[in-house]
């Protein structure tokens, strides 16, 4: 059975499980990916997230949600975390956590913001900053399954150094004529930057996204204000609201 087939079993209560850190990967100066082993993990659909819970010695607990960045084809579950200034949980996960450490985790959660190749396309993915994780799970899944579903990723970042998975995305796009990866850098653009140079707006979406007659499935994730702006633009361009799925992240992962 593949991970996806396992996932469509009967509904059950979410239980807290133990996740063990197998590897930590530095993505950018503020972002790391945590590769986790979770015994009894039942698989997930690209786009789903997990809740994690940390418990301090004095009993204090903090809980946060993180999207799963890895595809269901991987045994290891990957979370990509951005260290937030004055955050409580993300600095711990990014600066302190080591291989072999454990924390509690429950999931996978959420059936709304989900894409798998069975859903089809064409696929239009739009993300801001480090909120690209669930979308990366979708692209990695598409890649692992050698899917020909036409897809475009439009990502927005402040600077090139902040773009997560950049090399992996470039490599994916190079090897795949059905995938376009388009970026916009909103603050600083390096010499020779061929992408966009401004915040996402209607003309950019009209250019980048599949036209209406292709009836694309659209996924947008990022901070709430970003998601709401992009969704309004898409609707103004004529896309049906039902074809647009959104995931709003808070200002702090925490």
């Amino acid at each position: 059975m593949t991970a996806i087939e396992r996932r469509t079993g009967p509904a059950r209560r979410l239980e807290w499980q133990r996740a063990k850190v197998r590897q930590v990967v530095v993505e950018t100066s503020r972002v790391k990916s945590l590769l986790l082993q979770i015994n009894g993990w039942q698989g997930h659909l690209p786009g789903q997230h997990v809740d994690i819970r940390l418990t301090a010695k004095d009993g204090y607990q903090a809980q946060r949600s993180y999207s799963i960045a890895s595809p269901p084809e991987d045994e290891i579950v990957t979370l990509t975390v951005e260290r937030v200034e004055n955050g409580e949980v993300s600095p711990y996960l990014v600066e302190e956590l080591r291989c072999g450490d454990q924390f509690e985790l429950r999931g996978p959660i959420g059936g709304y913001f989900v894409w798998a190749i069975a859903i089809g396309g064409p696929l239009c993915l739009i993300s801001a900053g480090s909120r690209i994780a669930p979308i990366m799970a979708m692209l990695r899944h598409r890649d692992k399954r050698n899917s020909r579903v036409p897809a475009v990723l439009l990502y927005s970042s402040r600077r090139l150094e902040d773009v997560i998975y950049r090399k992996e995305l470039d490599a994916m796009a190079r090897g795949d004529s059905d995938l376009r990866v388009v970026g916009t850098l909103t603050r600083i653009q390096p010499e020779g930057w061929a992408g966009y140079r401004r915040r996402i707006d209607k003309p950019m979406l009209a250019d980048a996204c599949f036209p209406l007659d292709r009836n694309p499935r659209i996924y947008v994730c990022g901070p709430t204000s970003f998601v709401e702006d992009v969704s309004s633009f898409l609707i103004d361009l004529g896309h049906d609201a039902r074809t647009i799925k959104t995931e709003r992240f808070g200002p702090t992962g925490g």
């Binding site: 807290w16 133990r18 819970r53 940390l54 418990t55 301090a56 010695k57 004095d58 204090y60 607990q61 903090a62 004055n86 409580e88 600095p91 711990y92 302190e96 956590l97 450490d101 454990q102 924390f103 509690e104």
Partner: protein, 206 residues
């Protein structure tokens, strides 16, 4: 029930030493001022803003913004405690005390023993008048010397710092006297009716 595993090296950023007598049980000190709202921040026009004391169908007193600023002002420095476990110390607020509101409508004492606070956006919270008089409650319009930002409840919020902060209702517009107690927004959904942090009255049944 399983004991959750301790996360090696994780501690709350919020701990401070030597303040045990100021921090209610289960609380952790923060230097942030977290925002928590049950709905969108209302966009309030000060030209149209009014605040009222109400008794059944009667308006006992109603003030426009400039009039409200003309009422006696009180400034306090106090600690605030949120039921989500953060406490913030030495916060400074300015506004009109409940005692001064009663005086402004020529009442020596409250006509009924309970209050429901009604706010822009529909939020409500209930309190015994006993928790408002004697300087215990005010309608605050300034935080830390400046007008309260909208996300924190501006232009005016109820401030009742000796109770959990959900009772300090943001965007308050009227206080309605009630003969019998009725439960407000959170109190009717599992939170404690009174909410004393020193007795750790977080939830109904505590």
């Amino acid at each position: 029930m399983d004991v959750p595993p301790i996360s090696r090296g994780f501690s709350s950023r919020r701990r401070e030493q030597g303040l045990a007598d100021r921090i209610p049980p289960g609380q952790f000190v923060t230097t942030d001022f977290p925002v928590l709202s049950a709905g969108p921040t209302p966009q309030i026009n000060l030209e149209e803003w009014t605040f009222a004391l109400q008794l059944n169908g009667w308006v006992l007193g109603e003030w426009k913004w400039a009039e409200f600023q003309g009422l006696p002002q009180t400034t306090i420095k106090t600690d605030i405690h949120c039921v989500t476990k953060w406490s913030k110390l030495d916060t400074i607020w300015q506004g009109v005390s409940f005692d001064d509101l009663l005086k402004a409508v020529d009442l020596g004492e409250a006509p009924f023993p309970y209050i429901m606070a009604h706010c822009d956006g529909g939020y409500t919270t209930n309190l015994p008048v006993a928790d408002l008089i004697g300087g215990k409650g005010m309608i605050a319009t300034r935080y830390d010397g400046s007008l309260i930002p909208p996300a924190h409840g501006g232009p005016a919020r109820l401030l009742v710092p000796h109770l959990y902060f959900w009772k300090s209702a943001k965007w308050v517009r009227r206080l309605r006297f009630m003969e019998e107690d009725e439960r407000g927004f959170w109190e009717s959904l599992g939170y404690h009716n009174h909410g004393d942090p020193w007795k750790e009255q977080r939830y109904d049944g505590d």
